[in-house]
Symmetry: none
Subunit: 217 residues, 4 copies
Amino acid sequence: MAHDVKSQVADEALVHRRRAQIIAAAVELFAHQGFYRTTIQDVAKKAGVSAGLIYQYVTDKEDVLLLVLLSVLDSYKQEIPAALAGLTDPLERFWAAVGAYCRVVDQRREATVLAYRSTKSLPDDRRELIKASEIETNGMIAACLRDCIKAGLMREVNAELVAYQLVTFAHSWALKHWRLKELCTLEEYIAQGFDFFAQALLTPKGRRHQQKIQTGG
Amino acid sequence: MAHDVKSQVADEALVHRRRAQIIAAAVELFAHQGFYRTTIQDVAKKAGVSAGLIYQYVTDKEDVLLLVLLSVLDSYKQEIPAALAGLTDPLERFWAAVGAYCRVVDQRREATVLAYRSTKSLPDDRRELIKASEIETNGMIAACLRDCIKAGLMREVNAELVAYQLVTFAHSWALKHWRLKELCTLEEYIAQGFDFFAQALLTPKGRRHQQKIQTGG
Amino acid sequence: MAHDVKSQVADEALVHRRRAQIIAAAVELFAHQGFYRTTIQDVAKKAGVSAGLIYQYVTDKEDVLLLVLLSVLDSYKQEIPAALAGLTDPLERFWAAVGAYCRVVDQRREATVLAYRSTKSLPDDRRELIKASEIETNGMIAACLRDCIKAGLMREVNAELVAYQLVTFAHSWALKHWRLKELCTLEEYIAQGFDFFAQALLTPKGRRHQQKIQTGG
Amino acid sequence: MAHDVKSQVADEALVHRRRAQIIAAAVELFAHQGFYRTTIQDVAKKAGVSAGLIYQYVTDKEDVLLLVLLSVLDSYKQEIPAALAGLTDPLERFWAAVGAYCRVVDQRREATVLAYRSTKSLPDDRRELIKASEIETNGMIAACLRDCIKAGLMREVNAELVAYQLVTFAHSWALKHWRLKELCTLEEYIAQGFDFFAQALLTPKGRRHQQKIQTGG
DNA sequence: GATGAATGAGGCTTCATTCAT
DNA sequence: GATGAATGAAGCCTCATTCAT
């Protein structure tokens, strides 16, 4: 799991519980007020612990941010495989992955925005952890895409590049939510996105397959 | 344009010059170290002025950020119309607008990232200014899109929603540059994006028109 | 008493002790150098604590001033009742009250001057607290006066107005000490004041009573 | 006149005019906001000149305060002799002097308060100038008092000490105006003060003389 | 393990003063 | 003589971090 971050406390279960507590408080505060505007005292108070305690589970304020960001990215990494479970059809898997992504983003909207804003607040080495996690998630989407291409359902596009476009599409729901929420609901957003990407990516064969899925489903 | 922000100094030309000086220094520093890590002294030193001087042209540190962000958004608002000048064909105008957008983003890559990261650091009222400017720029793209739809060259899509997708596509070049630059060049990025959006948006008529343009051009 | 001012620290006893420490340091410094010339660092150093600590017991530099002024006024409010304890004769009580006032002023001479100089440095709402306290003290003197009038020992004067004159008489010892100390001692100052006010206020009956007291006492 | 303060400007008339301009602006600002809260820029703006100009007529910000305070004390020193002009009767002169003092204080109420608050803000040497001026004014009152005593109209009191009491009585009208104005008008204040001091000071002969004056007047 | 009072370095901001025009 | 833009020292206050209990 996520944290190679060192703690002064031995009991692993406790470490886990305390960190969860700290992260929960921090996500909310960071998301609303930003990293710099949030003090450790704020986090401590919201988490219902003392400020000193936090420093037994974390070395730095930046460490708290790292923990928070990793927890956000973790939730992405968990939801996508979960959504794919039991599905075998490449096209179904593809839409399921993208849809799942959009929905996690919606559930953790503020945290997603936070990730965009704050990654650069981390020192380079810790930021690499974040990037790695992002690449991993993107990889899941790209893999689905490649399976569709291999099956002749989609055009030969640069899978990673398009994966970025898909991911960005999902993120935008959070980043531009202030405006988008006035234009459509989440499901409408997803629907028009699917339509859009379908147009852009599907081969004639893919289109026919798509029809079948929708009719059959 | 851009700054309704008040200054202690009367001489407008001077105000303009000084602010440009301050903004130039600040963009660079904010982009690299972030808003909070950058001190006013840093900005002053880089701008070659005293810290006190800055406060004759700005009320706040946050005001500096506002000025910076507005200057970024301004550059968008200037480049797009410039790229459209002289073009009348709806499709040509559309691609020109999107291409121009991508290229400003590339030129001001760090500033663009800064805008994403730091807008939330502004108090609500100042943030509204930013949002307004963003909506305005988006409107330019959406207008081109609508013209294409009206001319029967593109499908009937939600113009504003798709405009967001286009804008996001451009921004991603800056936001994910750390990864994308390893996958392709800017022009390749634009080309595959055009291809992608063409697939998604053009009507048969639009496709034929597109052919003509490319052949003729 | 005195401090409705909020503190970050919970432990009331500690808050009390720390504030006393801060006030003690501040009175001296403010009295000598004035409020504006004294820095929080000065206060901290003299109090033997860190600058940051002060802000756990106070919100503002102005808050320190408020605390100081309230502590001065408090000492007035405590000394007068103490001086009256056990006395029942109206005339005796009157002189005791005025004498006590003069003596506190003498003991806290610099603080008294400070109160005159610095009250206006407070924002209006905090200044009201000071005024209220002053009115309360004046009320004690005025009450003694009224008792004497009721007993036919003093003329029918405007008690509150004369109370002001008495209070001002006491304050002047501090305010004009630089000159008065060359003209007389505190006790001489009080004596001539008593003589003066006796002439101005006593009725014939009061004069006879006064004789008795002095002879008997 | 008052200012030994040096100026960089030669033309004496100009110096005089400029200083009057500066003082006028400063009195008002200092009186309302206090010395430290008022900036030189504030004074310059209110005086309708540039900040730089002030430093051609003054060496220091403290110099401005000195000028202001001296101008206040000057007005005392002018009004009292003016009120005495033409009067020969010692008792009449005495009441005229005290009355005049009270009325200048009323006219320059805020400036008087300022003098109380701010004298200590001056460095020792400049403060001596103020004290000297105060002693001089007090001397005028004390002289009237001594004349009355010499004429057998008043008791043998310490003239300087009582002069202080009289002066303090006048000042209190300004210092405690916030409360006194609710208790009486200026003229009532003066009247009750006169009554009070008459009781305290007049000999039987003085009392008869007083009757004559009032009846005759 | 937990607490929370204490520390002190550091940043934003103000403003008296100067000086080139 | 007058201007006002520029300077830079200095002070208030915050907050990450420590440590005695």
